[in-house]
Amino acid sequence: MMLEKGIEEKTFYLNLGPQHPATHGVLRVVLEMDGEFIANSEPIIGYGHRAHEKMAELRTYQQYLPNMGRVDYLHALAYNQCYCMAVEKLTGIQVPERAEFIRVITSELNRISSHLLWFGAYLLDLGAFTPFLYCFDDREHILDLLDRITGSRLTYCFYRFGGVPVDVDEEFIAGTRAFISRLRSRWNDYDTLVTKNVIFINRTRDVGIMTPEQALKYGVTGPNLRGSGIPYDIRKSEPFSVYPLFDFEIPLGERGDVLDRYVVRLQEMEQSLRIIEQALDKLPEGPIMAEKVPKRLKPPEGEVYTAVETARGEFGIYLVSKGDVKPYRLKLRVPCFSNLSVMPELFQDVMVADAVAILGSLDLVIPDIDR
């Protein structure tokens, strides 16, 4: 009987994770395998759940600020910004323009560092080790720059309600400009080492195609969506902060495959460099904090939804206040949550090697999903 059953069973189960080199965090994907091909897949999440939403209900508005550096630790400043924007909208605090500029500069630097890390880790998934160290070399410069003014290198907690606590100095500006020209000189290296590599193109072209319909139904946002050719970038379509003052483009893909998502991210780094450059040129003089921000913040009753474009897509905060010193309810709409939920569709009937390429191309930060 056992033997008979064994013959009939065509598929077997493979656990990709929770500890696996390709999941970049504690994500577990149960794969039902038919030989090297995936018949079905189910992501299992929650290993890194820290109850950030419950924590919000137990802390005052200011006390919750550091949490925002720890949800998506790779683009922490965008999360900082979104939370500050939500509270500022609720309380009507006006942020001085110079502070907005500093927010944009630092947030875009952080976006580049996030994309660089993705770039390196993604090629590691594809079996190329060397680009990882090249882009970490570049990323190090960003971390040093941000370290100078924010005081931390990864889990930033820099923005405050009404502005930023520390002004940028000449050294930071000069360092940022030097970094811009440095990174621009590296594009050629990246192109010849990776983007034009035949093996790389064979591995990524026409793999893991995500249609615009799938993206719409699953609420996929960010570079993953733009890889499918939809020009949706919250910095452009729902302008926040001082983004409307800058001239930049939204890179788009055509086929929606892994290669498109890769190219979109690489081009986005260049666009971020353009934004930073313009912001440094136009940086206005003035205060960096709003006047009279109450120490004991008690926003009026009401609810607000703010969204920002992070390196991974739309991050939204739905904040409900009942006029208390603590939020009544704070929902974090995290981009990776929706971006991962589309994964089983992309995994249908692909090989394990492609599954790794697709999973990596979605640029997931697992603690972001688990919150």
């Binding site: 079996g127 080790f129 064979n202 591995r203 090989m351 090697a353 492609d354």
Partner: protein, 320 residues
């Protein structure tokens, strides 16, 4: 009686020599791999233990010796234990026929090249044993991939070697070296040389053909469950295989020990390590191929090309 004694002493010394060479070669190659990869990646690599980290591998080997040997609970224990040995022994046999210099070789067999290929094929058996017996799906997938890959790449490897062999007219490695007294074979057979290096890289399971142990997909492939010295033996075998493939390539295409001024042994080792350096360079530059692309490359490109090369060689010999 005297003959037996002499032969016994010869075997003993050879064995010690081979094991010594294998160990020193592996120690050197691992250090070299680290240094090469480090400099490709703009970092210094190991610097602490010894001069520029030269003793780092010895420290690592000591650490590995001290590690616990883990056997998975549901493993097929006998096969599990045998696999590293089966992996390593054929590697030693190949050294019998490699001519390091006109005088330094153990046995000048007239089927030398055949012996090397015959025994190097056994490595896939060891991989299959390791993958099957570990009772781990990642190991099994790695082993299955390895079998398919070895078959796809052994054929072009043999056919390209054949091109040289029909030119020389002998399977004996010393004859092949003697044939290249004036001109190296690589000038007659440039395509065969390139094919041989590609197939050799695949044969040793090195990136970009490291599908059986593709880290990001299969954790560590067939040797996922091995720890301590058992793992070290797989590691040792990988680097020794690299040495053998490069040594065969040197003999077949680069004139073996031949070269001006320097002693023959130095020339031989220089050529071997130059090819190994090339293979390391591949590994730290290219991403990994996908499994089906690898098989397609083997069957649809490398085998037809090597066959065409063989036919052309045969025709050329017939005509000239």
């Amino acid at each position: 009686m005297q003959f037996l004694l002499a032969e016994g002493a010869r075997i003993g010394i050879s064995l010690i020599g081979v094991i010594g060479l294998v160990s020193i070669n592996a120690l050197f190659l691992i250090w070299m791999e680290r240094k090469v990869s480090a400099h490709i990646q703009l970092r210094p690599g190991p610097m602490e233990v010894g001069f520029h980290g030269a003793l780092q591998t010895i420290a690592d080997a000591l650490k590995l010796i001290g590690k616990e040997l883990i056997t998975p609970e549901d493993a097929d224990k006998l096969i599990y234990l045998l696999a590293p040995i089966v992996m390593f022994l054929p590697v030693l046999v190949s050294f019998i026929v490699i001519p390091f210099s006109p005088t330094l070789l153990i046995r000048d067999l007239n089927v030398g090249i055949l012996l090397i290929f015959a025994f190097s094929t056994m490595a896939v058996l060891a991989i299959l044993m390791a993958g099957w017996s570990s009772n781990n799906k990642y190991s099994l997938l790695g082993a299955i991939r390895s079998v398919a890959q070895t078959i796809a790449y052994e054929i072009p490897l043999l056919i390209t070697a054949m091109s040289v062999i029909i030119m020389v007219g002998s399977l004996k490695l010393t004859d092949i070296v003697a044939y290249q007294a004036t001109v190296w074979n690589v000038l007659f057979q440039p395509l065969a040389f390139i094919l041989f290096i590609i197939c050799g890289t695949a044969e040793t399971n090195r990136a970009p053909f490291d599908i059986p142990e593709a880290e990001s997909e299969l954790v560590a492939g067939f040797h996922t469950e091995y720890s301590g010295m058992r793992f070290a033996i797989f590691f040792l075998a990988e680097y020794t295989n690299m040495f053998i493939v490069s040594a065969v390539a040197t003999v077949l295409f680069l004139g073996g020990w031949r070269g001006p001024i320097l002693p023959p042994l130095v020339w031989f080792l220089l050529k071997v390590y130059a090819i190994i350096f090339l293979m390391m360079w591949f590994r730290w530059t290219f991403p990994r191929l996908r499994f089906d692309q690898l098989i397609t490359l083997g069957w649809k490109i490398l085998i037809p090309l090597s066959l065409a090369n063989l036919i052309l060689t045969a025709l050329a010999i017939k005509i000239f």
